[in-house]
């Protein structure tokens, strides 16, 4: 596992250092999105790695990789395509209906996505920036359990952005809703054999509706360097259990925006959460079934 993770990091360092030519739609934050779009006819390559860690019991760590190619269709309209990958390393953790025991594999493709952003108001030109964001996704691996699960999703968001101090201080805020249709595959006989007899693993199709709201503030403290903080509230409602989960993550972000590339590093800690809990969960003020105690995300972007 260590070698696989090292490979990810080498790829990240190489991509970061070999950058060629930059940037308009750069991410000041790891999770909160800005309202700006790419200029017409320009391309950008973005890559993010997210490390998710610790469910309070057993051993759980996972990497999510998201590779994005962005294109400015017009000055106001940006289209993007994504390839998602994930790795997982979970042991000594079984949660009825959610996490069916040990799983370990390296980075493998897990989904694809397309997104479209339309800018209604420019934060620099109109004083207050506002964009609409539409995302369509298809995933074939469940990011929590690592098991096979077909999920079709659509997400709509409003992205706001405001410059203060001539642009030295930047605020961004997002609100969104996501709807998804998901269906799990059956567990293998060998896996079932290792689980308790009454272990429940529903494979009926389920509908999920999620809501999210995020906010972030970033300050340019030196040429090219921004320090910020961001927070994200997420909740999800699901067919069988009603409100399945809610969580608030918050943490600092460090951003570098250079001539040729940008990079953002965010540490995101779950500060409160609720909804479903698992048997024996020690901290009931967090949601630890589909979320972890913390995440670390590195994003970087290169124009070409």
């Amino acid at each position: 596992m260590r070698y696989k993770q090292l490979s990810i990091l080498i790829l990240g360092v190489a991509g970061t250092c070999l950058a060629a030519n930059a940037i308009a739609d750069e991410s000041l934050f790891g999770y909160v999105k800005g309202a700006e779009t790419l200029p017409k006819g320009t391309w950008e390559f973005d890559q993010s790695f997210t490390y998710r860690d610790d469910k309070g019991s057993g051993e759980y760590s996972a990497w999510d990789s998201k590779t994005e190619v962005e294109y400015g269709v017009t000055d106001r309209f940006t289209a993007s395509g994504y390839l998602k990958m994930q790795s997982i390393d979970m042991s000594d953790l079984v949660v009825d209906g959610y996490l069916p025991g040990n799983e370990s594999y390296g980075l493998r493709p897990s989904g694809v996505e397309a997104s479209f952003k339309y800018n209604f108001l420019s934060p620099a030109k109109d004083d207050f920036g506002l964009s609409g964001y539409l995302s369509l996704g298809y995933d074939w691996l469940d990011k929590h359990s690592g098991q096979d699960k077909d999920k079709y999703s659509i997400e709509l968001e409003l992205l706001a952005q405001k410059y203060f101090m001539e642009g030295q201080l930047i605020w961004a805020g997002n609100v969104g809703v996501e709807a998804a249709y998901a269906k799990r595959d059956q567990l293998s006989a060998s896996r079932l054999a290792g689980l308790p007899e009454d272990y429940d693993w529903p494979t009926n199709p389920e509908m999920e509706v999620g809501l999210n709201a995020g906010t972030g503030l970033s300050y340019r403290f030196a040429p090219n360097w921004f320090i910020g903080a961001e927070a994200l509230y997420e909740t999800e409602f699901e067919t069988e259990v009603g409100q399945e989960r809610w969580s608030v993550f918050a943490g600092p972000s460090l951003h570098y925006g250079g001539q040729d590339w940008w990079a953002t590093l965010t540490w995101f800690k779950q500060v409160r959460g609720g909804g479903e809990t698992y048997e024996g969960q020690r901290d009931n003020d967090l949601h630890l079934i589909e979320k972890t105690e913390q995440e670390i995300r590195l994003k970087f972007g290169i124009d070409f």
């Binding site: 260590r2 970061t16 940037i23 200029p39 860690d53 620099a124 030109k125 001539e166 925006g257 040729d260």
Partner: protein, 181 residues
Amino acid sequence: MSKNNLNGLWLLSIAAIVTPAYAQDYLTAAHAQQAIFPDAEAYQPMLLKLNVSQRDKIQTLSGLRQRWEEQKVWRVEKAGKHVGWFIVDDVVGKHEFITYGIGLSLDGHVMGIEVMSYRETKGSQIRDAGWRQHLVGKTLSDPFKLDADVPNISGATLSCRNVMDGVKRLLALQKVALANG
């Protein structure tokens, strides 16, 4: 969490820190002065110190904050006569400050603007004479509105806005703090 994993992540921020920042200087103040006032014979430098009251007046006149307490100004002369002002200013770009020089006539018109240092990736068209020409002749009473009387440059909107606003602010500064003659 494995410490090895975290150590790897911090490598990336170190990679960012050690990468040298890009900077591109195009003109010195002397070059910019000659470009705007080619017939001038003398440029008398002065460091203009602005008190709180003057900075407030500049903000009232222009609607823009006068960030700097000191401003580098040159009195431009020809044949011993005062013919204009040359001012060097810094405004916020997307990543770094943009440095430019502006020439003002004694009656408060923009005579010319030269970008002396621009470090952003997008928007190098700000340096083009075609874009800067839209600011020449402006007075404090002009609208100074992007995509109205000054064109926007896509991908560098913040830089365009701040240079344009900077010009308006310096016209207000001239009215508040620079005496002709």
